[in-house]
């Protein structure tokens, strides 16, 4: 234990900031040094206490509108000199409309072949910008699943995946390709993950794949006559892990 490395390296390791050579050397040291291993355990325990979005301060509901008006006043394109919002989510409505249109602008170059993927990203971005991620906000899948009943003519599975690192946030209705689809919302740490579900179109390919588009990851798969599209700004590997967790949970409800 006389040659313990700089304790700063332990922090670099938990933060994923070490290069491969240092990480390998440090992990070898940790196997033999209980002192460093305990210190690492404490850092990880602390990080677990602080993880998740709960500790962030939420902005008060009026702030978005206030900033919107301030930006409009200095020439940042007035969206609409809005009357005071009637409900908090209306404040984001005008913004959401611009954002949706913009997401398309940004996503425009490849629209001929991959219009659907663009539309998925646009839906995802709009859901975040319009502060309208969920119509029914609950982590209880027994609430989300019946909520879709009567609103759409298929029954999407809504597994709870918190144990796999994807807590359920809620559900909402969205539009895809001109049809109403189910959007089930999960979290991955601070990131929002939208899962769009619709009946698999006739002749739909059963191929599952992941793609990157404008910095967003998409994963597509099918199962039991339904087509799934997961969209998020997490890494592709996280999305692949989500697909795996979801399909396994659906297989054994």
């Amino acid at each position: 234990m006389t040659d313990c490395p700089d304790p700063l390296l332990l922090h670099g390791l938990v933060d994923g900031e070490l290069d491969a050579a240092n990480a390998v050397a440090l992990e070898a040291h940790l196997r033999t040094c209980t002192g460093c291993a305990e210190e690492l355990g404490r850092i990880e325990a602390l990080r677990a206490r602080l993880a998740g979005p709960a500790l962030r301060h939420r902005p008060p509901p009026g702030l978005a509108g206030r900033i919107e008006r301030a930006l409009a006043d200095v020439g940042g394109r007035p969206v609409r000199r809005a009357a005071p919002p009637r409900a908090p989510w209306f404040a984001g409505g005008a913004l959401g409309a611009v954002a949706a249109a913009l997401a398309l602008l940004v996503a425009a170059p490849q629209l001929t072949s991959t219009g659907l993927e663009d539309e998925l990203v646009a839906d995802h971005v709009r859901s975040l910008l319009a502060a309208h991620v969920v119509d029914v906000a609950t982590s209880d899948r027994h609430v989300v699943k019946p909520w879709f009943n009567g609103r759409i003519d298929f029954a999407p599975p809504v597994p709870e995946l918190a144990a796999q690192g994807f807590p359920l946030v809620g559900g909402r209705l969205d539009y895809l390709d001109g049809k109403v689809v189910a959007a089930i919302v999960y979290k991955r740490r601070l990131h929002t993950l939208n899962l769009f579900v619709r009946p698999a179109p006739a002749l739909a390919s059963p191929v599952a794949f992941t793609a990157r588009r404008q910095g967003y990851s998409l994963a597509r798969w099918t199962g039991a006559g339904l087509e799934y599209w997961a969209v998020s700004d997490v890494a592709s590997e996280d999305l692949a892990a989500f697909r795996k967790a979801f399909t396994e949970a659906v297989r054994q409800p």
């Binding site: 304790p7 700063l8 922090h11 670099g12 933060d15 900031e17 305990e38 404490r42 850092i43 325990a45 602390l46 990080r47 206490r49 602080l50 993880a51 709960a54 500790l55 962030r56 301060h57 939420r58 902005p59 008060p60 702030l63 978005a64 206030r66 900033i67 301030a70 930006l71 200095v74 020439g75 940042g76 394109r77 913004l95 611009v98 954002a99 949706a100 249109a101 913009l102 997401a103 398309l104 602008l105 940004v106 425009a108 629209l111 219009g115 539309e119 646009a122 971005v125 975040l128 910008l129 539009y175 390709d177 001109g178 049809k179 740490r189 601070l190």
Partner: protein
């Protein structure tokens, strides 16, 4: 399919068509791009401002100023790490705010540092009792350079490089601030003597 696409992309018409007929000017497009890139980070901006200023109303003013400054300086944004870019401006606006308060008010700082920023309504007192509030209070009580490093790393999940960019200090300094901040929090939040107890166990 075609029709639905038109429905979802009303703006593509001018994008694809001749620029001369475009209803939006280049400045409008830029302003829209600003909104798209920066407004999603409003929660991060507010949260950081609130942890720095330890005052909800001040945090709102700081965030609003930051967005105005960010819009003015948007031409200098190189398209990378929009969140870190915005948070750097939030931090500068916080520093402006502390300066504007002047030396006269500094005597009051110590009182506010104890978490007395919220009005002590019965609801606030009740809310403070729960775990989240007590954790937030613990973070707010950290002395300054460490609090900032902890909030940016643990709550905003930014990389060392991004935190260094926001705070304008080298990565090595960020690492040692983070390590010290975490040590303080470990002492406050984790059961004391964990290590000793394990050693004593058979």
């Amino acid at each position: 399919m075609r029709e639905s696409r038109r429905f979802f992309r009303p703006r593509l018409a001018f994008r694809a068509g001749s620029p001369g007929r475009a209803p939006a000017t280049a400045a409008d497009v830029e302003a829209d791009r600003f909104r798209l890139l920066m407004l999603p980070h409003m929660e991060a901006a507010y949260s950081l401002a609130r942890y720095l200023a330890r005052d909800g109303a001040a945090a709102e003013d700081i965030v609003q100023n930051a967005y105005l400054q960010a819009l003015r300086g948007f031409a200098g944004f190189r398209g990378e790490a929009p969140k870190a870019w915005l948070l750097a401006i939030v931090r500068n606006c916080f520093l402006d705010w502390t300066r504007a308060r002047g030396a006269g008010e500094q005597a009051g700082d110590a009182d506010e540092a104890d978490g007395g920023v919220e009005e002590d309504t019965p609801e606030a007192i009740l809310a403070r009792k729960n775990e989240i509030e007590s954790l937030r209070g613990t973070i707010e009580d950290l002395p300054e350079p460490f609090r900032e490093a902890i909030v940016l790393r643990e709550l905003e999940e930014l990389s060392y490089k991004e935190i260094a960019m926001i705070t304008g200090v080298p990565i090595g300094t960020i690492m040692s601030r983070l390590a010290r901040g975490r040590r303080m929090l470990c002492d406050l939040l984790l059961p004391a003597g964990d290590a000793e107890r394990r050693k004593a166990a058979p």
